[in-house]
Point group: C3
């Protein structure tokens, strides 16, 4: 299938700068562009490649100003990354074969209510009283425990394990080997360093449009619910402990962990490998740098870094000095010597 | 089902402070208490809620002193958290339906010895010469490799993968997608930056009453055994490398990792996202703050923090100064100027 | 089966120092050696045990010089760790029963091309147009998505989930519950803090002799490929994001994460719990200390530590001073007082 740069610009409601008839048959990264391919430029780190790429057309920001000659046709749009996402969605729909129907060897408890139009992969397990909405995809080796409810259009990839009583909204995506609803980590210390398990009788509630990355684990509440609100996006290998609440559209990068009963606000952006201790309140719109450790409540809109974390600007100023500590030590030693010399005089 | 506050106090051997006849029909968190619900107060952070909660009864410490009027009936006990755990266990037993019997589509090797009374979920795999004790629960999609032995009453949730030769005690709980017995990470450097795999011919030994959180991975020993002693509790997404030994009742929070051949003592408490390098000896009763990095042996009873970690008090004092480093630098610059001015005079 | 120390030395092309006829029937760690067992000494931390071990023979370096009497027979070789790996391989071949054939209850799509000699465990899933080479082992509960290709002799342990379009070389090993080909974490911010998923239409390419540890996750590329080059070794619970490229024979320890589009060179050694942000270039032969955070490009051969990381020597010098910060603060206060006293005079 081939499209002209003009046709693509029309779809994106952009303007063409260069040959509008150049033919596009595939999509590539800008640094790997070839004749016939379409690329995009959104991250300034890659601007250099626009002058050397072999791509036939490039989606750029409306206000992009070239500093040298560019061979490719430019398609100018208000937001290059978003427009590229739109095109990728078209492309994916063209190349992807949607899964449908029930494969052999599935386990569906007779009491489960399952829409007729779902995909149910081989070796999937659907427990007692489960309710699954329309157009849901349940890939092979998925486990859906008793009393789980799943909304329309949700996609559950191979190997996801959902414990009993979990409530899941519509249009969610869970990647391979996600675990939802495992017991919270609660042990009451007994005499003589023995521990006794605190039963975890709550559940997990996941609202609409939540995406969870491969291998992440979401623990059920001790009592009440662990909650991921609408639009939450979790990357891979993230740990969410019991009774945590994460607000709307908050995004968390890979390998971060949130300890028990902490509430995180909406529209936060949390970097990778961040740790947040339990029983905290993190405000709305908070940004946390990668590898930070959060030991106190955080106010709306704060941007923080460090372990323990504080204001990102202050952290960076302190870290600059950390790198110069041996030098600072020398300066203090030198001062000490001068004072001592003075006092000898 | 309904109980009076007095009936609950009798079960917990506590005393009633307020209306002993108030009716309880459910359990809630103190901040979400409603008429008819029972809550508890153990963490002082939540004390404020005792004056505003709508819960009908609250389990508190014997010596709790109210600073304002409290509407709810108090049930006073020596240890509120423990008593609440007791009640949760009762509650769980009432609401939970225990799994029993063999579901369709299981793989059990003819040489495996499996008690008649176990639960064996659909798509579970039981290999050659496996021995499974009484009242064990094997959920769907569990893999039990050749020669594995499992003690009585152990619960193995969906998707757990246990490699060959692993020995597991009784009353253990392994959450979804735990991996036990994967190869240790051993590669012998060859000429020209090539590596050659060191075969891992040892196994994993897990004693009684061990709990392992979702997605954690326990590698088998190169030779000998990786060992988790009785009562060890591991949270989610923890990595235990080959030939590690973890002592009795040691508790490790989520996303921590222990490198090869390190021995950890008993009754330790290790925070989340801690890393411990290989070939170390960590003593008994050690406490390690979250996100710490351990690069040296640690003596019995030490409490440490930092990466690399040292005494927690010293770490905190250093970190206070780290935050003030730009200020310290200013002070040194100011001193330098003063000395210089003096010398000019 | 029994061997003499001389027979073992012959296999390893080593020389015997002590009784060449002593009989060996098993392998042990040096600190757990017993009569009849063979051990090795490679890590100097364990040298003390050579004087006390009950092992009958010990593999040591050619140039090892004993400081006291040693009871055991020594087998001297150029590289003790490598020789021990050789012996373990012999031992493993003796004790291990290779898996062969097709177990019951597998799902193989009629269009899949699968060599006759592979092992296909129960409940394994092989999708449309999959191609699997000779002597491949596919353990139970493995999922192989549509259009995946797998080279000869690759071993895929229980619960591994491989998404569609992944290309895998020969002689690879993937441990239990590894995920390959999950969607990259790409969301285009929309108005009002909403996010829109960026379709991930690329794939994952894994070359020959790659080993991936249990529970690790490798995301597919947005466009193009996420690539692990020949000989890459990843430990457990590692996260590799979309469009990352990792060079030949690079080794990464457990729980590290690499963010999107970063390219790592060949022959690097990366410690555990390291985080590397996106869009970076890490050179060849780079060494990164455990728990470091990498926020900038790294040149060939650099050795770095810290979060953010810099030269390991400088980091350690700074950290020594970090520990002494309260003391440095005292020294500055003392200087301030002296200057002030001077000025009063």
């Amino acid at each position: 299938m081939k499209f002209s740069a003009q046709q693509i610009a029309d779809v994106l409601q952009g303007s063409v700068d260069g040959d509008p008839q150049v033919e596009i048959s595939t999509i590539s990264k800008i640094e790997e562009g070839q004749s016939g391919s379409l690329s995009f430029l959104a991250n300034p780190k890659y601007t250099q490649y626009i002058y050397t790429t072999e791509a036939s057309a490039i989606i750029v920001a409306e206000d992009f100003v070239a500093e040298k000659e560019i061979k490719a046709t430019l398609i100018r749009v208000p937001d290059a990354y978003n427009s590229f996402a739109t095109l990728l969605a078209y492309y994916q729909n063209m190349i992807r074969k949607e899964k449908h129907g029930r494969e052999q060897n599935v386990f569906v408890h007779p009491t489960a209510k399952v829409s007729d139009d779902i995909y149910l992969g081989a070796f999937a397990y659907v427990g007692e009283n489960v309710k699954i909405g329309k157009n849901v995809k349940v890939y092979p080796h998925v486990y859906i425990g008793d009393n789980v409810e799943i909304g329309d259009n949700t996609v559950i990839y191979q190997g996801v394990k959902i414990y009993h009583d979990t409530k899941i909204g519509g249009n969610c995506t869970f990647h391979a080997n996600v675990v939802i609803g495992s017991d919270g980590f609660g042990f009451a210390p007994q005499s003589e360093n023995d521990f006794r398990k605190v039963p975890q009788v709550g559940n997990v509630v996941i609202e609409d449009k939540v995406e969870i990355g491969a291998g992440s684990t979401i623990d059920r509440a001790t009592i009440g619910s662990t909650i991921l609100r609408q639009g939450v996006k979790l990357d891979n290998l993230i740990q969410i402990a019991h009774n945590v609440v994460i607000g709307e559209n908050t995004v968390i990068a890979a390998q971060s962990g949130v300890a028990g009963s902490t509430h995180i606000g909406k529209n936060c952006m949390i970097g990778g490998q961040v740790g947040i201790i339990g029983h905290l309140k993190i405000g709305d719109g908070v940004m946390i740098a990668a590898q930070s450790g959060i030991g106190n409540n955080v106010k709306d809109g704060e941007i923080i870094q460090g372990s323990p974390a504080f204001s990102v600007g202050d952290y960076r100023r302190s870290y600059v000095m950390f790198r110069k500590l041996p030098d600072l030590n020398q300066r203090v030693s030198s001062l000490e010597k001068k004072i001592q010399d003075q006092q000898k005089e």
